[in-house]
Symmetry: C2
């Protein structure tokens, strides 16, 4: 059997996400983001297209680096207004049977005890279709809103994330035995107390005795997504993530990152087959090359370069309004998110001028791979990237919503299925099984949540 | 027009809630709490019965006071396992048009910035049907799970709650102007930046510059519920709550509490008509007195006195296993929740023995009013209590779910409607309008969120 491509859709609970300015396009429906029906229709479309999951991004702050002001982001609607991602998942679960839901949540601003219960609740309600995209949060404006005087230092953020995950694993995997819930009506025994364990976690950042409040769900631990490109970020992904999200548009750089993740994961004792990698892909398709190109030109006329530039400024910490177009932007590791700086400078053979960077940012699909063409051309391109990079699939970005995905599901999905590289039907299973196969929705034994932590050894720490 | 009765259903996302042991009853369906369909069916039933709202309790800890062990609570399933209440609301909103949803969340363990966004998201998705039951959390086991060495002191909890509410009000009411969202396609102006205000809150417990991430929802501030019986709790309720939840079963004590709330609210400049009070009521009804009594006897045979006693022990901080039945339990103010201690000792003319308290706890409906009888008898009783106490309505507890509410909706609701004291149809409106009428779903001008805080005066504090 040929290698199967896995697909997620990449969206956010706001009118903007990454298609800056496209809310003004007459076909874009993202301004309906406050309506339940917007989300149920999107979920039904994705299930029709046999996607693994809808991946919901999130940001708990505002982009105020560019021109040292929040005004440009507010004016252009760049990820503000933005609502909570978690709360649209239950309705999407109700109208689907197989589609998974990956939600972004930050280990810097959540509390593991209540967060773990929320994820267990979602895993129960969706019958094992939940994934968690682990982020550590970079924005200073977020930090201020949580009472911190500055964003938590980069390395400390990852240390906190590591311990946060450890607490969650203890709650999800090691607090309740599989057979703890007895429901023995005659003896008034709902749960066998000897099978519910306190976790007694006492660490540097968290102290959580437990027990977990939720009984075991189908997956216990949600499928773990992570997008790490910095040194520490890659380490976190290699250690914990099952699905790793890799930005960039140059196949040789993506290939290097894919290999890095697998190599580092092996150092943590994890099998290569237990990690899948996903590129970021924008697809604009039509029945003819001309139709696809016409759509690209149409969408591009709405795309806001300023929106992309201010987003880049906030993500990298470089206020591009302070540079001349001829200045060179040299990549340096900062406290702030460096994925975009890496994407646009490290990816290239040489540093780029600010003018060149702005030009690139002004293009549709600026954050990853872009395929424009007929279904055959797009499928060829996708197969070629998979071959060149070792990626297992893609997170598909929408230009207009849900139009971009409608086109993809209608035109490209049948072509991928015809080639035998994409599922024709779901297997009835949890999200983890949809992505990795197997007979159980649970984490594999080589995952640190299992291999490094044991029930009863409540003072274990994940160390390597 | 006669005074209209308002009704909420009182439930929790767990198999137990307050009907300890009833999960063993063959007709009880609460063990389906992990299924979306359990909640959608319950919501549809309540909307058929023209209820104001489903009120969801919550606890972020475990009851381990009794016998100084968590085992009895685990064994009997007393509010463990328990899932997050927030996540079942979106699906219930999807299958209803008018029913409101009151969710419990603690000001001690949430962060106001992200919490305010979650509530705004729910208010958007439900189109203005969200209420928040403000609690401050009393359990030591909760405190430990949030890294605290002891539960936050009683008075400090209320001080934190007061500031938490202030931050939320600033985000909900004063950050975005009503006309901030412009969606001016031609000029790439999604939001007018001058109409989005930083709140710049700097207080003793929270520092939140804002702005709020969500655009204004129909209600902006969710309808505020509170149940306060201690001195500080009553003060918090009188200052902030629109719907006040009053426990107890002796009409003269309820009456005194109702009057207290209105008197204290007046001191805060609030109109009496902007506060409604709700008693706690269990109704067991049948077509004949005998049928109702048979149900009571049947349910009582499943009710777990031990479950009620351990719940009481955790809520009051008195481990009843340490007392003899002949001991007298004298009410004293403690760091822990005193509502039940107050209920069972202060309510009475004299202190009670532990044996008497245990006996009372072993009865169905032990936390409030109990009506058992035909629809006419129940309606008579409800009318009488309303007359005697000044209450505006009731939070209805279920013995078996959804059977208790099915009986009520089928038998008692038509009787209340026939008497002209209960709505026959919903008006199309927000939850706040369903409860208070009026043409707007927004907070009234005399509420401290409006009267005490003004846009631009970002350093205001609510002081009285």
């Amino acid at each position: 059997m040929k290698k199967q491509i896995h697909l997620n859709a990449f969206e956010m609970n706001c009118p903007g996400h990454l298609s800056h300015g496209l809310w003004a396009h007459p076909e874009d429906q993202r301004t309906r983001y406050k309506d339940l029906s917007y989300w149920t229709q999107l979920a039904q479309l994705l299930e029709k297209g046999k996607f693994d999951a809808l991946f919901l991004a999130d940001v708990l702050g505002i982009y105020d680096t560019y021109e040292q002001s929040a005004d440009p982001a507010v004016r252009l609607g760049v990820q503000i207004p933005a609502n909570d991602p978690m709360l649209v998942i239950p309705v999407m679960a109700m109208v689907t049977k197989h589609l998974g839901f990956a939600m972004t949540a930050s280990t810097t601003y959540e509390q593991p005890f209540s967060f773990a219960r929320r994820m267990s609740t979602l895993d129960h309600l969706t019958k094992g279709r939940i994934a968690w995209n682990v982020v550590t949060s970079t924005l200073q404006s977020s930090a201020y809103n949580f009472g911190l005087t500055d964003s938590v230092k980069h390395d400390e953020r990852y240390e906190i994330a590591d311990e946060f995950l450890e607490v969650c694993y203890k709650l999800w995997e090691h607090s309740w035995d599989d057979d703890a819930v007895v429901k023995d009506w005659a003896n008034q025994l709902y749960v066998e107390p000897s099978k519910v364990n306190f976790i007694d976690h006492k660490g540097k950042h968290f102290s959580v005795p437990g027990p977990h409040l939720s009984e075991p769900s189908l997956q216990r631990t949600p499928l773990i997504y992570q997008a790490g490109t910095s040194g520490k970020g890659k380490e976190l992904a290699a250690k914990h993530a099952e699905c790793v999200f890799i930005g960039g548009y140059r196949p040789e750089v993506i290939k290097r990152n894919v290999e890095d993740i697998h190599r580092q994961a092996a150092l943590f004792g994890r099998k290569s087959g237990h990690i899948k990698t996903f590129g970021v892909l924008t697809v604009i398709t039509g029945r003819t090359t001309e139709e696809a190109q016409r759509k690209l030109a149409d969408y591009s006329s709405y795309f806001s370069q300023e929106g992309a530039v201010l987003h880049y400024s906030a993500n990298t910490g470089y206020d591009l309004s302070e540079y001349q177009d001829e200045d060179y932007l040299q990549y340096t590791e900062t406290n702030h998110g460096q994925s975009l700086a890496a994407l646009f400078t490290k990816d290239a053979a040489k540093p780029k001028t600010v003018g060149e960077i702005k030009h690139e940012l002004g293009q549709i699909g600026n954050r990853g791979l872009l395929a424009v063409g007929t279904p055959e051309q797009v499928a060829d391109q996708m197969e070629q990237w998979i071959d060149q990079t070792g990626l297992d699939g893609f997170n598909l970005m929408q230009v207009i919503s849900p139009g971009t995905l409608q086109d993809f599901v209608e035109l490209v999905v049948p072509e991928l299925q015809r080639r035998g590289i994409y599922r024709k039907e779901y297997e009835t299973a949890t999200l983890r099984q949809q992505v990795f196969g197997g007979t159980s929705g649970r984490l594999p034994e080589d995952h640190p949540a299992i291999s490094q932590l044991r029930k009863g050894n409540t003072h274990d720490a994940i160390t390597y």
